[in-house]
């Protein structure tokens, strides 16, 4: 497949780097202001484009808009997630499908906020939309649901945000205050300079909204989710939980009825009590009991793996 990649951050850059290994060619790579675009029947030089981007030089000499004019098969949308109208991600999806080409999203915005619109555009197109990378990074959540058929899945629960999980794990282990552990997580590069989306539950909620949309074939956006973050969990609560063989995790729950995200008591040695930045997903099925999948829910190469497996499924 010939890939055009929008977004040259950790995920987009890793997709570009790994594409060759998966048997694909990269014909365009763009950030919000510049693009490296290949000539007809050529590929771009990924290594030098990424080197230029890393040293703050121009990624390429083309306008990002030119990406859509290349001879690509799949657009990889790895620009940052935006809420509300989910732009510019949504327009990128719209334009790709209008050209009857496929789009693989790492961007959560379009499928969390405008799922029905995306599916309507897909129905009119010869191209299709896949978004495994938007939920749980490298963990195959959506493809597992697809394999079980969404109708046979009754609920999906999971620890879906590595930053929040890292903070709760450290707070429980060391008896430290939230603010202290957050600062430490920022030093380690586990938490962003602005960690709001991670710690207030928004990131986990977006993933659960996507899951609920897949289960119910649409109907949900972030506004429909009941979301509580971890900022107000004191060490005293974690201590009390531990005295009773439990711990606290930020857990997201998606069903056809709704989406809930909040700190929950879970058995200390149970499956949900993953530690550090690990994620876990429980898929509750009608006929096959509960399925669990655990792994790295974020990171460039990890998420790129999910993008490339989507490309392979097209």
């Amino acid at each position: 497949m010939r890939l055009a990649i929008l977004g040259a951050g950790a995920v987009g850059g890793s997709v570009a780097e790994l594409a060759g290994e998966y048997g694909h060619e990269v014909v365009a790579l763009a950030n919000s202001s510049q693009a490296a675009v290949a000539d007809e029947d050529e590929e771009i030089d990924v290594e030098s484009a990424l080197e230029r981007a890393a040293s703050d030089e121009a990624l390429g000499s083309s306008d990002p808009d030119r990406v859509f004019e290349t001879d690509y098969d799949v657009l990889v949308e790895a620009t940052p997630t935006t809420l509300g109208e989910a732009e510019p991600g949504f327009s990128h999806v719209e334009r790709t499908l209008a050209d009857d080409k496929h789009v693989v999203l790492a961007n959560k915005g379009p499928v969390a906020e405008r799922y029905e619109d995306v599916r309507a555009l897909e129905r009119e197109s010869a191209g299709s939309v896949r978004f495994e990378a938007a939920v749980g990074g490298a963990i195959p959540v959506l493809s597992t649901i697809e394999d079980c058929t969404p109708q046979a899945v009754t609920a999906v629960r999971g620890v879906l945000n590595g930053t929040a999980n890292f903070i709760l794990t450290r707070m429980a282990a060391e008896g430290l205050e939230y603010e202290h552990v957050l600062a430490e997580a920022q030093d380690l590069g586990v938490a962003e300079a602005d960690p709001t989306f991670d710690v207030d539950g928004t990131d986990a909620a977006l993933k659960c909204v996507i899951l609920a949309n897949v289960l119910a074939d649409g109907g949900f956006s972030l506004e429909d989710a009941d979301v509580t973050g971890i900022q107000d969990v004191p060490p005293s609560a974690l201590e009390l939980a531990a005295e009773d063989g439990r711990t606290i995790r930020l857990v997201g729950e998606a069903t056809r009825e709704g989406v809930r995200v909040g700190p929950r008591l879970v058995p200390e040695n149970g499956a949900m009590a993953v530690s550090g930045t690990r994620n876990i997903v429980q898929i509750q099925t009608r006929h096959a009991g509960d399925l669990y999948s655990s792994g790295r829910g974020a990171g460039g190469p990890e998420t790129a793996t999910a993008v490339l497996s989507d490309v392979g499924r097209l």
Partner: protein, 209 residues
């Protein structure tokens, strides 16, 4: 078997309502057996919920023999973790009907969680953590409203207030709820927490987690 248990209990007058109506013969048999007699033993099944720690099963079985019960079989359901992360254990035992209440009470006194004894199902337990200005928002009022409005029995409470009672503190509550009423109780707890500006940390629902 189950009727026998109920009739045995009726001698104490506490569990008479739970007894099956009508099996008066069994009741008569039960009342004939004084705790001291060794005859007329009946078989019973109790379901326990144990913490997965070494020695826990042994600890759970001690009160049975101490109160005159004779162990018949133990089914330790490893791999079938309850929603609270504990291991369900089914114990078959025999004892004289009049002693069965003592066996169950003995288990309870030893801190063993009895889920079901003979015919009687003891509902569910629910553990939650409340966080916030628990004392300033009148903790005892909160507890009595949990019993009154949420229809849940407060089995125990642990308060953790490292910065003093006028700062943010946490409380772990273990509640007894009627089987099948877990969601209703949680709903009542959520609105109480909302009203008092507290955070409610709920147990995760659903399956073996």
């Amino acid at each position: 078997m189950s009727d026998e248990y109920a009739s045995g209990s009726s001698t104490t007058g506490t569990a008479a309502d739970s007894g099956a109506d009508g099996d008066t013969d069994a009741a008569a048999d039960g009342e004939d057996n004084s705790p001291e007699t060794d005859g007329g033993r009946q078989a019973y099944t109790v379901r326990l919920e144990l913490v997965d720690e070494p020695g826990e099963l042994l600890r759970a079985l001690a009160p049975i023999s101490e109160h005159g019960g004779n162990l018949l079989s133990i089914h330790h359901e490893r791999g079938n973790i309850t929603p609270r992360g504990h291991i369900p254990v089914e114990v078959d035992l025999e004892c004289v009907p009049a002693r069965f209440d003592d066996v169950v009470d003995g288990l309870r006194e030893a801190g063993i969680n009895v889920i079901q004894a003979g015919p009687e199902r003891y509902g569910e337990e629910l553990t939650v953590v409340l966080v916030g200005h628990l004392v300033e928002t009148d903790l005892s009022d909160s507890l009595s409203r949990i019993e009154g409005e949420a229809h849940a029995g407060v089995l125990d409470l642990s308060l953790n207030a490292p910065d003093g009672t006028d700062a943010i503190s946490s409380a772990r509550l273990r509640l007894a709820v009627d089987t099948g009423r877990r969601e209703t109780v949680l709903e009542a707890l959520r609105s109480l927490a909302d009203e008092k500006g507290l955070s409610l940390i709920e147990p995760l629902s659903g399956g073996e987690i």
